[in-house]
């Protein structure tokens, strides 16, 4: 008998409030190791709020309240003591690119340095590997000392991805990463994400329904603070959606 390995992330009864505004309600789901878990849904669905709760970024948002259980790698993230270690294991890419006002090199080397790596050879190796993976190396390899915050929007977004990869995370949270990236580069990054699936688990929040279809193993549909349904991506897109609202959204009939 084959027993399924335990899920990497398991969410039970998750609700998120901002003051008395409810952003997410009663979400139950599991994210398996080494899968790409897609989340689609219109604006206001609570997708970003969900990601925030996963690595306890709710702490940075005054008034944000998270109820329910979230476990990551078997540990309850609500009670984890060493938040810094938790966040190091979870990489995040925000919708708007954030190139830190450091050199390109330092942007990518920041996380390794924070965890105590100081050897130049080792840092060089990490920086090059992560920049290559984020499809940015060729464009910046001659100006690694230039400011990361002065790159173009699309380049900054890839820099942000490289920075998230430099943490060597087990879980990568991508929030509409392609919003500021041109289609060609988006395709290149998507290829990278497919490769990364071998090594890590990805939660992909996207506004592009077709992007979820191309990448995600399973896709969930969020609407108005509810997780309407979760299904294997192929089933969902080939007419297997249970809920009428999912069908409407996938076909672009909405609102």
């Amino acid at each position: 008998m084959v027993t399924e390995p335990p899920p990497l992330v398991s969410v039970r009864g998750l609700s998120i409030h901002y003051g008395d505004k409810v952003a997410l309600q009663g979400v139950d789901l599991d994210i398996k190791t080494n899968e790409i878990f897609g989340i689609i849904g219109p604006a206001n669905a609570g997708k970003t709020s969900f990601l925030r709760a996963l690595n306890r970024m709710d702490e940075f948002v005054p008034g944000m309240q998270v109820l329910g259980d979230i476990t990551f790698a078997g540990r309850d993230v609500r009670t984890v003591r060493n938040l810094y270690a938790l966040r190091k294991r979870i990489g995040v890419v925000f919708p708007l690119p954030v190139g830190l006002p450091l050199s390109i090199y330092d942007n990518v080397a920041l996380s390794p340095r924070l965890s105590g790596i100081t050897k130049h050879a080792q840092l060089d190796e990490i920086v090059e590997r992560c920049l290559r993976r984020a499809a940015l190396w060729d464009e910046v390899k001659d100006r690694l000392k230039g400011l990361g915050s002065l790159l173009s929007g699309g380049q900054q977004q890839r820099l942000t991805i490289a920075r998230a990869l430099s943490q060597d995370p087990e879980l990568l949270l991508l929030d509409e990463f392609s919003i500021a990236v041109d289609p060609v580069t988006t395709m290149r990054i998507e290829e990278v994400l497919k490769e990364l699936r071998q090594e890590l688990t990805i939660v992909l929040v996207t506004n592009l329904v077709q992007q979820a279809r191309r990448l995600a193993d399973r896709t969930s549909f969020f609407l108005g603070g509810l997780c309407v349904e979760i299904a294997p991506t192929e089933a969902l897109f080939s007419g297997g959606a249970r809920e009428q609202s999912t069908v409407d959204y996938l076909e672009g009939r909405f609102g």
């Binding site: 690595n55 970024m57 940075f60 005054p62 938040l83 810094y84 270690a85 938790l86 966040r87 190091k88 990489g91 995040v92 925000f94 708007l96 954030v98 190139g99 830190l100 006002p101 450091l102 920041l110 996380s111 924070l114 965890s115 400011l147 915050s149 002065l150 942000t160 920075r163 998230a164 943490q167």
Partner: protein
């Protein structure tokens, strides 16, 4: 024959808006000029009346005849001691307090009280600071009347502006940078040290400039805590009393009779030059920092 596209012919409304805009511009320019004129006049008078009295020996010689003759070597030296002392105390403390208030403090009543207190502290008259200095540093801490007590008093007086200037520049660093750092597991201090502080240099320099201006120029706070009208020796340690330029100027212009006409002007000119020189350096640094666009 060419006809002008009616779209580019100004309508009466557009014409009126344009006239108003020109009017406002001229008015604002006039106000700005008006503010500069007194400053230039003062500087002009000082240069015309005081410059002839300047010489190397005037700058380095000690005062003679109670200050009515000789140079200003000792007061100048004393002012540098006092200013350096005030800076050494006020900058680290002020920057530390600003970091706490901007980066660590939660928005609760205590923080708000502290913030209000700081703003009000900046408005306290310097003579009150002087009395506080006498009570706290000269007597309670037993510093006696000394450079140390005077520098402490100046530091307390300038702390609020250092704090406010630094806090503003810390908060000018976008929150997104902090969140990006935190989300990868950096502690608050790591974030401050690697990302926030390196981009707040210009605010810290502004604090320094304001601190220098007041430390060099104030008379009351040092008069009761460490500065004296006359002293024949250069200070040997921070526990000595000292002469100071601002007090010396007060002395030669109001306390002494038969002072040469140009002397007060020359002292005042040196006072202004000291401020301008110290600030000029800081401003040059700040311009270099600001010139490099970071985001």
């Amino acid at each position: 024959m060419t006809t002008i596209d009616p779209m580019f012919v100004a309508t009466p409304l557009e014409k009126r808006n344009h006239t108003i805009q020109q009017l406002v511009r001229t008015l604002l320019l006039a106000v700005a000029l008006l503010l500069v004129v007194p400053a230039l006049l003062i500087l002009g008078v000082l240069v015309v009346e005081g410059a002839p009295g300047l010489s190397w020996s005037f700058l380095v010689d000690p005062p003679r005849s109670n200050g009515a003759a000789g140079g200003i070597g000792l007061p100048l030296l004393g002012t540098l001691w006092l200013t350096a002392g005030a800076l050494l105390l006020a900058l680290p403390l002020g920057v530390a307090a600003a970091i706490y208030l901007s980066e660590y403090a939660r928005d609760n009543w205590l923080t708000r009280t502290i913030n209000v207190a700081i703003v009000n502290l900046a408005g306290v008259p310097s003579i009150v600071h002087a009395l506080f200095g006498v009570g706290a540093f000269v007597h309670f801490l037993h510093f006696g009347k000394s450079i140390l007590a005077a520098s402490c008093t100046l530091a307390v007086m300038t702390l609020p502006v250092v704090i406010v200037a630094t806090r503003e520049s810390l908060q000018a660093v976008p929150k997104a940078f902090r969140e990006a750092c935190w989300s990868m597991g950096a502690t608050r201090w790591q974030t401050i040290w690697r990302v926030v502080l390196p981009n707040s240099g210009s605010g810290i320099l502004t604090g320094l400039i304001l601190c220098v201006c007041r430390a060099v120029g104030e008379t009351a706070p040092i008069m009761f805590t460490g500065a004296v009208f006359l002293r024949s020796m250069a200070p040997q340690s921070v526990f000595d009393k000292t002469m100071a330029l601002s007090l010396h100027l007060f002395n030669v212009s109001t306390q002494l009779t038969d002072v040469p006409h140009h002397l007060p002007f020359s002292v005042a000119l040196v006072l202004i030059i000291v401020v301008l020189a110290l600030n000029g350096t800081a401003i040059a640094f700040r311009m270099r920092l600001r010139g490099r666009k970071k985001w």
